[in-house]
Structures are given as structure tokens and as C-alpha cells.
Symmetry: C2
Subunit: 204 residues, 2 copies
DNA sequence: CGAAATTACGAGTATTTGCTCGTGTTTGTC
DNA sequence: GACAAACACGAGCAAATACTCGTAATTTCG
């Protein structure tokens, strides 16, 4: 078992180092995924010795946690934008546009985001909260759908929400992986896919 | 570097062992993925010592290769069924049904299939042929689409094929992961998603 | 200044894991 | 039956890697 990190009064230099290390970790995670990312590589990327890394993070998991926490804020605000109650009455294409946009942006702005919130190669400790978050998103989508198709049974509602999420997740990968210049067509296609799937269920 | 496997006259017992080992590997790969699967675990699952495993396979990669080869046959026949030229004139829902069915079946019949043909955590040596295969599938889908929408530009054709493949792959995961009893609704949903996406492009 | 705390180093440790090797058993062939 | 080849074992090697520890520099603060 790795050593615990005692409470400690960080000085400015230390806080900077933690940011550097988190940045480095984000890069490395984005490049090779959580499992294959070595702590030594993260330290090296940050221009620091392995020992220094462990002055600030108890273990590899703790680094991912710090990153996740940093992302959580961004994700929260993206969700707030995406699930604006005012959208309920919008025509389907606009609704999709508004819900998708913030999520794409947050993924583009934070490389390594997908690596952390998707990864199948993470320890249970970190995967569990992520799954919860994912479930919450599905739930909120189901609500939006329910508002537009009140007579749909709850089971079908949930299935639809799950599938829509999955379509989004799959194509999101392509969108963020594409070079900036070729991104738009993929985004357009993502919207069309969601629209084509949802329109028969909840109407335009 | 791991030792090479010299040519060797296998006896019946040996060939059986190789099957057992491949079966065990399929299970382990399906459960934890390629990267996290340990050769010792595979040997243990087959009820055999690590040394014995290496009597038959030069290294971990070789096990995956053997499995991939075994699957390739099944995959080929699935493709042959899925891309029957006679389907070109079918109404869209039937076309989708016929193309999807064999692919789902082959995935259900072979656990570990997805783990091998999907995995982001595989060495380049194994990932490369898989990517090629994937590209080929996209190409064939593009052909089918072209037959039905002759005036669509090639670029759009390709994008559509890629997206359709991605939608399929994403939902396929859910379908095979679901317990047999709950599988049908997901398959239905998969069809609806593809239909919704493709109909506006190539008509019913 | 001077002591305590924090930051930094990097060689080294413990563990995991792909894989080997010496040894013994089983199978096929004459 | 005898000999060689194939099969099997499992302790253990070598490399990778998460993490530690002794030591030393820097910062804080009275």
C-alpha cells in the first residue's frame, strides 16, 4: 500500500509544481491512456524527479483524481449550459446543437478528458465516480426526452437516452481526434445522427 | 526479445492444448482486455503451467494472433453474408437488418472478439491489421451507400460510412454486454439509430 | 541569522509480469 | 521394448514500474 499524504502547508512554489504535474499528467494520459502512463514519464514531462512527484501526490491514482477534480468544474458548467431548462421547447435541431456544443468544447479544451472519463483501464476506485456521473447524464437526457414525449414509457425513455449518449460518445472521439480544420463535418454528422435517431421518437 | 518458435511436429495432445489455451485467452481477453491479461492467468485458466503455454506460443502477441486468425474466418463469412450484393435493392430497414445480423451473431458467438478487434491497448503489430480490416469494412459500406445514392460526393459517402460504422460499434458493445434476455430491445434500437441516420442520406 | 518546514533529487526497493530453463513424463515410431 | 520427440512442470530470471529514502537545497518566519 502506498504511503498517505499528511496535511501540509504548501508554499507558492509547491502549488505551481502541482499544476505543472497535473498538466503533464493530462498530456501523458491523453497520449497513452491511464494504464500505460508511467509516473516517471509524468514526472519527466513536468521536468521533475520521480521523488518530487511523490512529494505532492500519494500515488498514481491521486494524480488522476486531482485531474478529474479539475475537470469536474469544467464539466459541471458544461452540463449546466447543456441542460438549460429553457431548451425544452426548442425545435429538435437547435436543442441538439445547444446540448452538444458545450460538451464538445469542454472536450476540446481539455485533452486527457476522454482518457479519464472513458477509460476502461482505470482502477475501480476512479471508475466508479465516473460511472455515476455518466448515469446522471443519462438521467438528465431522459428528463429532456420525457418533457417532449410525455406518453413514452419510462423503460423506452431510458433506452433512448442511453443510446443517444452512446452515439454521442462514439462520435465525440472522432470529433476531438480530427485536426481542427476537418472538425466541422464530423460535428455536422454527429448532429445528423442524433437528430435522425431522436426525431422518430420525440418528434421535431 | 522473446524466443522464436521452431517448426515442430504437433501431436494430437498438443493441438488440443493450443485450442484450450486459445479458449482461455479469449475468456481472459474478454474479461480484462489485452493489456491487462497476464500470460500466467491465461495458462492458469487453461489449467496449465506458464512453461507449457510457451511450448505452443512464442509470446503474448502470438496468442492474440492465433485467436485473431481463428476469428478472421468467422468474420469473413459474416462479412460475406452482410455484404451480399443482392441486398442492394432491399428497402432500408431490411438492408440494415441483414447487414447487422451476421455481425452481431459473430460477436455473440465469440466473446473476446471485441477485445481483439477494438482494443486501443494493443501493440502496433496487432493493431495495424485490425485497422486495415476496419478500413475495408468502411469501404464496403461506402460502396453499398454509393449504389443507393449515386449522386452523393465521395467525401460525404466516406464520412457517412465511417459514422455508420461507429454507431454500430458503439451500440454493439451494449448489445453483447446485455444478458441474453434483454438483448432484443438494444438490437431494435441499434437498427433504429442506423435507419434514422441513413434514411435522410440514401432514402428508404 | 537560525531553526523548522517545504521542496527537490535520483539511486534504490518491492512487486509485477512476460518469459526461460532444467528436469521429468508421455507419445509416436522402429 | 527402446529411443527420440513432444509435452509438461514450476521455480525463478530480467525488465518494467510504482513508489521510497537518505540527503541536500530553498523558503518561511521568528
Amino acid at each position: 500500500m502506498p504511503g498517505q499524504q499528511p496535511e501540509r502547508r504548501r508554499q507558492a512554489r509547491g502549488r505551481r509544481r502541482m499544476e505543472q504535474l497535473a498538466d503533464a499528467a493530462a498530456e501523458v494520459f491523453a497520449e497513452v491512456g491511464y494504464a500505460k502512463a508511467t509516473t516517471n514519464a509524468i514526472a519527466a514531462r513536468a521536468g521533475v524527479s520521480p521523488g518530487t512527484l511523490y512529494q505532492f501526490f500519494a500515488n498514481k491514482e491521486a494524480i488522476a483524481e486531482a485531474l478529474a477534480q479539475r475537470y469536474q468544474t469544467a464539466l459541471q458548467s458544461a452540463h449546466d449550459k447543456a441542460f438549460d431548462p429553457g431548451f425544452a421547447a426548442l425545435p429538435l435541431p437547435e436543442l441538439i446543437e445547444r446540448m452538444i456544443q458545450p460538451m464538445i468544447e469542454v472536450n476540446l479544451a481539455n485533452p486527457g478528458f476522454k482518457a479519464l472519463f472513458n477509460a476502461a483501464d482505470m482502477p475501480e476506485r476512479l471508475a466508479a465516480p465516473t460511472r455515476q456521473l455518466h448515469q446522471a447524464v443519462v438521467g438528465r437526457i431522459a428528463e429532456v426526452l420525457a418533457a417532449r414525449a410525455p406518453d413514452l414509457p419510462a423503460g423506452q425513455l431510458r433506452i433512448t437516452a442511453v443510446v443517444a449518449t452512446q452515439i454521442f460518445g462514439a462520435l465525440l472521439g472522432t470529433v476531438v481526434a480530427a485536426p481542427a480544420a476537418e472538425r466541422d463535418p464530423w460535428v455536422t454528422e454527429l448532429k445528423r445522427a442524433l437528430q435522425g435517431y431522436l426525431e422518430p421518437v420525440i418528434g421535431a
